[in-house]
């Protein structure tokens, strides 16, 4: 663990990313404390400029506090990003592990399914799914999961394919170890690093997809999100630039921070790549 931190902290931008990410998590967790009450609640001060009428980042066309929306939206984005990624990694690992380990027919079938999912334009597919299931937190999570897992499956399959012929795995076969145990205890721990890295980068992608869906009006109508704020502020672009600008910056720095952390993890967990520079 100490070694890991030493390697990770060598990448200064990754540490910066981690700090920003912690800040975003902190804001999300205290959103209800600093902005108690419904972020959808309108006031009698529409279109206040940033700093006016006690609105730190201004207010929108019906007087909702942009800053409050951003704080509450952080919760939505992070939650959806994390849950969807977790589900996608789980499905991807199971598919990839089975396909890579057993090969043959199992591999053929599972990989063809993966290929179909990879060919489909993922964002349009996500739109379709949400539109059909009806927009809600659950449907957004499902849609993001469905379009994200194939990348994990391919990665895990590749790792399993490479590792299953390694001599230490063959040695386990000669001892009579069960397949289940070989996959779980021998091979999986050896491909955790790339899974962690791809997982962290997927959280960022998930947040981008979520905001895109919300922008198109496919977010949960009862939950505040950054994409919704931007979509809502669109019509006021000429008169109130701040409504769209600040939530966008929030997305930008959150995704940037997660990407930086992901790269830091990659550098720290992947010694082969590290030596190259």
């Amino acid at each position: 663990m100490n070694d890991f931190w030493k390697l990770f902290s060598r990448n200064r931008s990754a540490v910066l990313g981690l700090l920003i990410l912690c800040l975003v998590i902190f804001v999300a967790s205290i959103a209800s404390l600093i902005y108690p009450g419904d972020p959808f609640l309108y006031s009698k001060y529409p279109l206040s400029k940033p700093g006016e009428n006690g609105f730190l980042l201004g207010s929108d066309s019906i007087g909702r506090d942009v800053a409050s929306g951003i704080a509450h939206g952080a919760k939505t984005s992070l939650l959806i990003g994390l849950i969807a990624t977790f589900a996608a990694v789980l499905i991807g690992v199971i598919f990839g592990a089975l396909a890579g380990y057993y090969g043959g027919l199992v591999d053929d079938v599972l990989m063809r399914v993966t290929e179909v999912f990879q060919t489909i334009p993922s964002f349009i597919f996500a739109i379709l799914l949400v539109a059909i299931i009806k927009p809600s937190i659950e449907s957004v999570v499902i849609a993001i999961t469905v379009v994200s897992w194939p990348a994990v499956a391919r990665l895990v399959r590749g790792e399993f394919l490479a590792l299953k012929n390694r001599e230490f795995v063959q040695a386990c076969h000669t001892l009579g170890m069960s397949d289940y145990r070989i996959m779980l205890k021998e091979i999986l721990p050896n491909c955790l690093s790339p899974i962690i890295v791809i997982g962290s980068l997927m959280v960022a992608t998930a947040i981008l997809i979520e905001s895109g869906l919300a922008f198109l009006g496919l977010g949960d109508p009862n939950v505040m999100s950054w994409g919704f704020q931007i979509s809502d502020g669109r019509s006021m672009l000429r008169v109130a630039w701040w409504i769209c600008t600040f939530p966008g910056i929030a997305i930008l720095i959150t995704v940037l921070a997660i990407n930086l952390v992901g790269e830091g993890l990659n550098d720290a967990l992947n010694p082969r790549l590290r030596e190259r520079n």
Binding site: T119, I120, P121, A131, L208, L237, W241, I251
Partner: protein, 313 residues
């Protein structure tokens, strides 16, 4: 040829998605009409074949798709395929200009960064790529509009051409190009960042290969090593990735087209979303999948030319 089973699978999935949705076409029609008797709805279902068992419906659906019949858009009162082909060219134009911009500049920037590794030029390009890689498309589009259309009236905010002006010939081309600038840049930025990062990483990986040492041992100049030996090898993964990313690009065009009101498939998808016109949405989905398969075939052919280890079938 491996594209055909994939398309088939997508068609089947399409069919089941359609069935998954609440209510069928008759419900939608009935809703349109305001009131409809249950008997009338039964009759309509029989007419559209919706009372048949699912496998029969699937077979009919497959047959229709093969004949390019993608159903009827009740909202637009037009067959879906006509609507789609109408809007297809606008999207194709946007996609082509974006791919050229993103892949072309991505490769150049990545190459430039790798050649100037660990200098301020490399750092600048990397920071630019890092930031654009994290920026949501729709927000870039809106910021572009604020800066280039609202604050400075350099580019139009929306549409594909100034239809009120009735331009013809070259003037019309110029007008469309003028409208194309902002949507293309917006859609390109994310992919530009992606290809830049990938090209840079790929170049660095190739620089570490044994054949580069051989080339140096032959006394070749660094310039020749970079442009003749490393570049061609480094392009291979980038070309593969360009094919894989086409699907994502089509997804991105939905957002960009709806921001700039670009009258393409993405805009059509956005409209059908609000109208709950599922037939149309599924048609767009199917066509875009076919487009991805087609682009991947083209990429495979290009790949064969670049990599002698792959045999052309």
């Amino acid at each position: 040829m491996q594209g055909i089973p994939i398309i088939l699978a997508i068609v089947v999935m399409n069919f089941f998605l359609l069935n998954l949705a609440e209510g069928d076409a008759v419900d939608v029609l009935a809703g349109e009409a305001g009131s409809a008797t249950p008997e009338y709805m039964e009759k309509m279902r029989a007419k559209f074949g919706l009372d048949q068992p699912l496998p029969v419906q699937l077979a009919v659906y497959l047959k229709n798709v093969v004949q390019l019949d993608l159903g009827y858009s009740f909202r637009h009162e037009m067959p879906v395929h006509e609507l789609i082909f109408d809007r297809f060219w606008a999207t194709l134009l946007l996609m082509t200009s974006t791919i050229i911009l993103a892949v072309g500049f991505g490769i150049l920037l990545g190459l430039f960064a790798a050649v100037n590794l660990n200098t301020w030029k490399d750092a600048l390009i990397s920071v630019f790529a890092l930031i654009t890689y994290a920026t949501p498309l729709f927000w870039v589009g809106l910021m572009m509009i604020i800066v280039f259309s609202i604050k400075n009236d350099w580019f139009p905010t929306s549409g594909m051409e100034n239809s009120a002006a009735f331009y013809e010939g070259f003037d019309r081309v110029k007008d469309i190009a003028h409208h194309l600038v902002l949507p293309t840049i917006t859609l390109s930025l994310f992919y530009l960042a992606l290809y830049t990062r990938m090209m840079r990483a790929s170049m660095l990986e190739q620089y570490g290969q044994d054949y580069v040492v051989t080339a140096r041992a032959k006394g070749l100049s660094e310039r020749r090593i970079t442009f003749v030996h490393v570049l061609r090898n480094a392009l291979l993964p980038v070309v593969t990735m360009a094919g894989v990313q086409v699907g994502a690009l089509i997804g991105g065009s939905v957002i960009v087209e709806s921001v700039f009101a670009w009258p393409g498939l993405g805009m059509l998808a956005f409209e059908s979303l609000f109208a709950r016109d599922l037939n149309l949405l599924l048609g767009i989905f199917l066509l875009s999948s076919v487009l991805v398969v087609a682009v991947n075939l083209v990429v495979d052919v290009i790949y064969c030319f670049l990599d002698p280890r792959i045999e052309v079938n």
